[in-house]
Symmetry: C2
Subunit: 138 residues, 2 copies
């Protein structure tokens, strides 16, 4: 398995804080590039998921864009088919659309996030993507 964390442009950053880890299954790192602010009305960061790691279902009140920069992963919007995401892919998530994303079982995933209209409030976290579901993805 390639160690993709050696080949990224924006550094891997730190493991997520303890309070946030409950929203993920597996290990995840974050490098916050643009903090919450009033000037740009968005937050930006780089997220690295270890193989098998994914976040819980969640919603953003102002939407989010993902720019995939490394590895291989999954994205799914509630009620739609899951899809593979690869470097160069752009994922456009409208406001309040329930979704999850994460690494493939056999690959790291690195993506930038742009959480848009961030002044509308913070992410709403929901149920986990359980092993019995995730392990069947292919």
């Amino acid at each position: 398995m390639e160690d993709i964390t050696d080949s990224i442009i924006f550094s891997r950053g730190n493991k997520f804080p303890e309070s946030y880890r409950k929203n993920f299954i597996g290990q995840v790192w974050i490098n916050i590039l643009v903090e919450q602010n009033n000037e740009w009305n968005c937050t930006i960061g780089n997220v690295t998921f270890e193989p098998g790691c994914r976040n819980n279902w969640h919603k953003h009140p102002g939407g989010q864009i993902l720019l995939v920069t490394g590895g291989k992963g999954w994205f799914q919007e509630w009620g739609k088919e899951e899809r593979v995401i690869l470097p160069g892919d752009v994922v456009k998530i409208p406001a309040n659309k329930k979704h999850w994303h994460g690494a493939a079982r056999d690959s790291w995933l690195v993506h930038l996030y742009i959480t848009t209209n961030s002044n509308r409030g913070s992410t709403e976290w929901m149920e986990q993507v359980l092993d019995e579901y995730y392990n069947k993805l292919k």
Copy 2:
């Protein structure tokens, strides 16, 4: 000189349309990843400047973030020192701050842009960064 356009994550895209080229000295390519929209209130794209290419002084009514992904370039805000920008750098440009950016004389530059609060209106273009200024940068 390395051909950086071979090593980028988001494809180089197309040469800027004729109507837009007057805002640049030199050749520039754009790959628009997120078009103007009402959902995310930002536009996102990948821009590639050939060596020596730079844009004119300009302002964004809603600000802009640059994420540098390849090569080497310059950024300058009006009234401040110019600075070198390199892969991994994040440039935060507040609304209505006059600035320019572009490649170094001896390198390509590739950056993502996130034009924030894009619903506030379009870029205001101003004077060129002339050779007699640009060629003295070091």
